[in-house]
């Protein structure tokens, strides 16, 4: 059952990220729903599932991107593991802590990706961080906080995490 849910999640993320989100982008920046999904799976299902689902999301989304596969795998898989670890260590998880956490992770992974971007000099790399990486990290943080708030309104998140 869980496998089917994860399969549906991965399959639906592709059209959502590539077809629908471009319509909702702000200044041509859209949130990375793959990162958000991997973080949620990590928080609620633990490191191992966060890692596996994050890797699957990274791989499948990379098939529809011009980007490097290894960055996508490391980023999404890493977020799944990290979210699982933090979900276990942090006792009071609020929408703000989750949002800020993902903002920071998205920022770090975006800077890492920008540093590995081919043919970029320092000024171009800074331009990319200012214009793409930072706004996207903010967007990711806001979307994650909003989704976590929605989930916490509907379910008992503390119970979901400890069950």
């Amino acid at each position: 059952m869980k496998f089917l849910v994860y399969l549906m999640l991965v399959l639906l993320l592709v059209p959502l990220q590539t077809t629908l989100l471009p319509h909702l982008s702000v200044w041509n920046i859209k949130p990375d729903l793959g990162l958000v999904a991997a973080a949620f799976v990590g928080i609620f299902a633990g490191e191992l599932e966060g890692l596996l689902v994050g890797l699957a999301i990274g791989w499948v989304l990379n098939m529809f991107s011009a980007g490097e596969l290894w960055i996508s795998l490391l980023t999404n898989g890493g977020v799944g593991v990290l979210a699982g670890f933090l979900g276990r260590q942090v006792s009071q998880m609020t929408p703000i802590t989750v949002g800020v956490g993902l903002l920071l992770v998205s920022l770090v992974s975006g800077i890492f990706a920008a540093m590995n971007f081919p043919h970029l000099d320092t000024s171009q790399m800074w331009w990319m961080i200012e214009s793409i990486v930072f706004p996207q990290a903010c967007f990711d943080g806001v979307v994650t906080a909003g989704l976590y708030w929605l989930v916490s309104q509907r379910f008992d998140v503390a119970r979901l995490r400890t069950e």
């Binding site: 399959l11 590539t18 490191e47 191992l48 529809f64 991107s65 980007g67 290894w70 081919p118 990319m128």
Partner: protein, 291 residues
């Protein structure tokens, strides 16, 4: 501290798997990439189903919006377009005359006839999954004969180049992406250069000889020397020239001919000029029907 139901062994396994993945990606990057690309084909076919379903709903909604809701200013636009058609008819007649003259002269000079390239029509079903690249996703892939490095165009001009394919889809890096490089030449002066995208979403012709007499408004076309494009496809129009003191070359900013943010259907060039054996096997750029 929250107590997750994840057993301690599973946590250790997750961390071990992640560490192993990091090591494997650094030590055997090509092998890992090759293995996953081998699986891309069947997975791509599965992912294509929801992707195409949502893309067709999206296109349907956009069509309805364009046909019934966003009709403001259509009358004025229609009048403007009628005037443009009249002007283009005149241009068309002149060009037909010029084409006939060129054909006669070509025959006289015994030039080898250039075959039309073979093309595949494809629909745009999405945009790059990340924000870092300017790329579009097409609904045709390896099973339709599309391979990396093939050129992608519309009747208006160059769109980009295929960089990645799965069984049923392909990713096209747009001409406006800084990672793209296409061999181009200035139509009027015949000076060659390399067209690259800019971070602002435009394009730039680089490595133009210092003695070139280029000017604003000059058109830049593909040179056909390298890559998947035949000669003479329009890339863009020069809008600004940059000539720095002491530099070995000059460069020019281009306004791309195709509005890549709105492109919906494209043609993928499977063979360039000279590789195609029969003109009839290729599709006419202007006459090709929608996919």
């Amino acid at each position: 501290m929250a107590h997750s139901r994840t057993p301690y062994g599973a946590r250790r396994l997750a961390l071990a798997c992640f560490a192993l993945l990091v090591v494997a990606l650094f030590l055997l990057p090509n092998q890992i990439q090759g293995l996953l690309q081998y699986l891309d084909g069947p997975v791509g076919h599965v992912v294509r189903v929801p992707l195409e379903a949502i893309a067709s709903i999206d296109a349907g909604v956009a069509d309805r919006w364009a046909q019934y809701v966003a009709l403001q200013g259509v009358r004025e636009e229609n009048q403007q377009l009628r005037k443009e058609i009249e002007w283009l008819r005149g241009q068309h007649n002149q060009l037909r005359e010029a084409a006939a003259a060129t054909e006669r002269l070509t025959g006289l000079l015994s030039f080898k006839e250039q075959a039309l390239p073979a093309m595949v029509a494809a629909q745009v079903i999405g945009r790059d999954a990340t924000n870092r690249y300017r790329a579009i996703i097409l609904n045709k892939g390896e099973s339709d004969g599309i391979k990396p490095d093939m050129g992608v165009v519309t009747p208006a001009g160059v769109v980009g180049r295929v960089v990645k394919t799965t069984g049923a889809s392909s990713v096209v890096l747009l001409v406006t992406d800084p990672n793209n490089a296409i061999a181009g030449l200035i139509q009027r002066t015949r000076d060659e250069g390399v067209v690259e995208g800019t971070q602002q979403g435009l394009a730039r012709l680089k490595y133009i000889p210092l003695l070139s007499t280029l000017r604003d408004g000059d058109r830049v076309v593909t040179s056909g020397l390298v890559g998947g494009f035949p000669r003479g496809l329009v890339i863009g129009t020069i809008t600004r020239i940059d000539k720095e003191e002491g530099a070995l070359f000059q460069s020019a900013e281009l306004n791309p001919e195709v509005d890549v943010s709105r492109v919906e259907e494209v043609l993928v060039i499977q063979t360039s000029y000279g590789q195609s054996t029969k003109a009839g096997a290729g599709a006419d750029l202007l006459g090709k029907s929608a996919p």
